[in-house]
């Protein structure tokens, strides 16, 4: 077994005086799909921001692909092969669908994903290529956001709350597409409040509670009781 693609050790994060993460230890193996679950405010998004380099005001180390990226800016981390599908999709409103996808390819990494393969995965995007990204439905916007991250041909892709604010049927479609997205040597972290979806597609799961890892385990082995204890902090 080779080194894990991502290794986090003793990670802490702060918003001014407020500490949001306490000594997080975690890792993602190559080719693995990892789920991170936890209630609102447990620190999931802060963890994603710290790993991706958007937040740099804490202690601890983050190693990505064998390199220490703790002090790297987000754009440098992206160039090393980490992509994110951010919470709330966050498309660029003044860019068309096609341009949003092209921005993803900005990092210039080689791999299986390009405009053709992304449009094969989400055919609707081809029809809407020249439209303003704001004119799309929520589900279609989510497809653009996923496509945009794939265009970077990343080694690790972070999905931050991709089901938030979407209709159940669309969530189902997007999760159905995930196995064909991941694979091909790509690893993924799926951050979710929807525990069922997260456990179904992941191999391993971490649960966060008040900024700490409260549970780690194999997704098919953790019990409902363990999860609810780790999730809510109640017996």
């Amino acid at each position: 077994m080779s080194d894990p693609i991502l290794k986090v050790h003793g990670l802490e994060a702060f918003y001014d005086d407020f500490q949001a993460l306490y000594g997080i230890d975690m890792h993602v193996d190559r080719g693995e799909v990892l789920a991170i679950i936890g209630a609102n405010g447990a620190g999931k998004t802060t963890l994603m921001r710290s790993i991706s380099g958007l937040m740099q005001n804490g202690a601890g180390q983050v190693h990505f692909g064998g390199q220490d990226i703790s002090a790297r800016r987000a754009d440098e981390v992206a160039l090393r092969g980490l992509a994110m599908v951010p919470e709330g999709r966050q498309l660029f409103p003044s860019l068309s669908v096609w341009e949003n996808l092209m921005i993803g390819a900005q990092v210039g990494r080689k791999g299986p994903w390009n405009l053709d393969t992304v449009c094969e995965l989400f055919p609707i995007l081809k029809e809407r290529a020249d439209q303003a990204s704001t004119s799309l439905s929520g589900g279609q916007q989510q497809m653009v956001a996923i496509g945009r991250a794939l265009m970077a041909n990343p080694d690790l892709i972070l999905f931050d709350e991709i089901s938030l604010g979407l209709a159940p049927i669309i969530i189902r479609d997007i999760y159905a597409a995930l196995p064909s997205i991941i694979g091909e040597g790509m690893s993924a972290i799926i951050v979710e409040q929807d525990i069922g979806q997260a456990l179904a597609v992941s191999g391993r799961v971490y649960c966060l509670q008040e900024g700490r890892v409260s549970l780690e385990g194999s997704s098919d082995r953790v019990s409902r009781e363990e999860i609810s204890r780790a999730y809510f902090g109640i017996e």
Binding site: G53, R73, A74, D75, Q90, F92, P93, I103, Q106, A152
Partner: protein, 287 residues
Amino acid sequence: MDWLNAILQGTLLGGLYALFAAGLSLIFGVMRLVNIAHGDLIVLAAYLGLTVTVGTGLHPLLALILVVPAMGLIGYGLQRGLLNQTIGQDILPPLLVTFGLSVILQNTLLEAYTADPQKLDAGALETASVSLGGLTMGILPLLTFLIAIGVIWGLQWIFYRTALGRAFRAVSDNQEIAQLMGLNRRHIFGLAMALALAVTAVAGILLGIRTSFDPSVGGARLIFGFEAVIIGGLGNLWGTLAGGVILGVAQTVGAKIDPGWQLLAGHLAFLVILAVRPNGLFPRISG
């Protein structure tokens, strides 16, 4: 006929004002920065043109070959070395730092070139003119106007048709997400300022051919550019050209009524439009 002539001359003058404004508009569009030293940078470009033409004997328009990349480099250096540190929610740091820059530039130019008015010598081009049905157009103002159209068309093309323009718009929309896509906003901002000052170089040389200049005239150029941007509507480059033309026409028509009213008429036109259409005539983004 006199009035028609005044309107025509004002329209052509508007081309120069649009060139003053295009850089401001670009910078504001990409990074919401208002550069108080913009006018002084126009004057700096005129002085660089002066040094090049005097030193090499080149025609001022050919001097652009050297002055444009020089201003571009200055822009990139300025942005990365200084102005990037001022970008944020608070408007005071960029305002104060560019104000300081304006004072430094003006006095450095004063030290280097003295306060004597200077002019770029463009030879026969300055006096050449064409007649069109009783109206006379100077070749230089006409050329300036055509260059303004060309520059704005070029900026528009970069903005909407190239990867660089895509990056400009992405960073302008959302700096954090753009960073997640591997865009280094410091570098992108540097390139935006380089492009803005390249345009400023063109504006400065054309200003220097048209009128005499000294280190103190930057403030007025900033104001003309600013007025053209606001009249046209923030974030719309073609609107900026229209804004420049409206300002130019107001000034020449004002001067026709009374020579002392030239600048006043321009400012009043700006204030009237601000009162009636606070977002400008063709707004694209909200300030």
